[in-house]
């Protein structure tokens, strides 16, 4: 026995003719005995009723619905397969291109670093010599602020050049 709530839930299926025959009859018999539901059914557009009027025999309808459902499933499967294939192709392309690009950048980056290190070598050696001289002087005058300032300059240049070598790749 259909209730008002069940009628609400089944109404769309009833209108488009997909509600099983027994359930459809049950819904109609409820509407006949319920003024509110009958008024609702009467107020609905006529077109859905047509579907009911030309309702197919149960067997044929089930076959048709089954075919539609199968076609939808197939369409969904095809869509998923196409999406999957597209994703796979994109992944293959990315996998092929990205490492090549990365490798190219790595090669260029490595060469840049080697070049920078080679160019900086004499400068780093000069800084080491200067640092050793100032350290020697600091051993004699450990509190000499001017010497500390010289040492600070040397350290700053050493840090800057080391950073420049590292950043030559980026």
């Amino acid at each position: 026995m259909t209730t008002c709530t069940e009628l609400d839930e089944r109404l769309t299926a009833y209108l488009v003719g997909t509600l099983p025959e027994t359930d459809a009859r049950d819904l109609e018999s409820h509407a006949t005995g319920c003024a509110e539901c009958e008024a609702r059914l009467d107020a609905l557009p006529r077109i859905p009723r047509v579907a009911q009027v030309i309702a197919l025999p149960d067997g044929l309808r089930l076959t048709t619905l089954g075919a539609v459902s199968a076609r939808r499933a197939s369409s969904r499967r095809r869509r998923w397969m196409l999406t999957g294939a597209a994703a796979a192709c994109a992944a293959i392309v990315l996998l092929a291109i990205q490492p090549a690009r990365k490798r190219a950048q790595d090669v260029a980056g490595g060469a840049s670093i080697r070049y920078a290190a080679e160019r900086a070598k004499p400068e780093l050696e000069a800084l080491n010599v200067a640092a050793a001289e100032v350290e020697e002087a600091l051993r004699v005058n450990p509190d000499d602020q001017a010497l500390r300032a010289f040492m600070g300059t040397i350290e700053e240049r050493r840090t800057a050049i080391t950073r420049q070598i590292r950043e030559a790749a980026s």
Binding site: A104, V107, A108, S112, Y115, E123, A130, V134, A137, R157
Partner: protein
């Protein structure tokens, strides 16, 4: 079959050696932030009164141009075409930018020539050369052994170098310069307030145009030479721990600018510029 193989060979081999012409452009705001990355070659930056970026040039061996802009930010440069080719990708580009653009250039071994940038200019070059003219605003340069020349500029300059020399001619504003063995020379009709530090490089300053402000010069082993106007001798504070200090001027002019020079073991030599009365030349730079 032979024909197909030939076409494939041409397709594979052509990009490796061939130069490709580049002529393109992007829309940009008047203060666009532009990053340029060309590992090897030449980058010229010129300015124009348009809100766009124009690129004209060629790619070198193993080079492939890339670039794009969102309007307020843009980047362009040369990438490696072939990952298996160890040749650094290169190119020769002339990039036209809005005058107020903020331009960042990075090269491994290359020459940068920038003219008229009034926004910001940042240049990083390992080896090669850097020349900047008619710049105003902020100029920042870092190099390991590229000589740096800055001519006719005003604003704030920051130069960090290694072996390459640094030459400032007719520059106004403020400058901080540091090198390892690169020589530094400041000259021209204008001298910026400067702090100059070198380890082994010499420092030469023609301070005759200096009417105010200050120069702070420091070397480890490099010699310092200061040329002054004998009629307006600056306040001089000169100390070398292990080098000779030559200063023929005892009295400074009233309200004169100050020059501080410190050296660990380099010589410091102050002399009057030729044609300037009031000082007698001592030695030569």
């Amino acid at each position: 079959m032979t024909r197909v193989a030939l076409v494939l060979l041409v397709l594979v081999a052509a990009p490796l050696g061939a130069q490709s012409q580049i002529r393109t452009g992007f829309r940009a705001t008047h203060d666009v932030s532009l990053r340029i990355w060309v590992p090897v070659g030449l980058v010229r930056v010129v300015t124009w009164d348009r809100d766009s970026i124009g690129i004209d040039g060629v790619t070198g061996r193993n080079g492939k141009f890339f670039g794009g802009s969102s309007g307020s930010a843009a980047k362009l440069g040369i990438d490696a075409r072939n990952a298996n080719d160890v040749t650094l990708p290169g190119g020769d580009l002339t990039v036209s930018v809005p005058r107020r653009a903020r331009v960042w250039i990075k090269m491994t071994a290359g020459h940068v020539d920038a003219d008229g940038v009034a926004g910001e200019l940042e240049v990083f070059v390992v080896g090669g050369s850097i020349a900047v003219r008619n710049a105003s605003g902020v100029v920042s340069v870092e190099s390991i052994d590229a000589p740096v020349t800055i001519d006719q500029a005003s604003g704030s300059l920051r130069i960090r170098g290694g072996r390459g020399s640094v030459t400032l001619h007719d520059v106004d504003g403020t400058a901080t310069i540091a090198t390892v063995s690169g020589a530094v020379e400041l000259s021209g009709a204008r001298i910026p307030d400067s702090r100059v530090e070198t380890i082994g490089g010499s420092i030469t300053v023609d301070a005759r145009p200096l009417r105010h402000g200050a120069l702070d010069l420091q070397t480890h082993a490099g010699d310092i030479t200061v040329i002054v106007d004998g009629a307006h001798v600056p306040l001089l504070d000169l100390v070398s721990r292990g080098g000779r200090v030559i200063n023929p001027f005892i009295k400074a002019a009233r309200g004169a600018p100050g020059i501080t020079a410190r050296s660990f073991k380099g010589a410091i030599n102050v002399r009057a510029g030729s044609g300037v009365k009031g000082g007698k030349p001592v030695g030569s730079p």
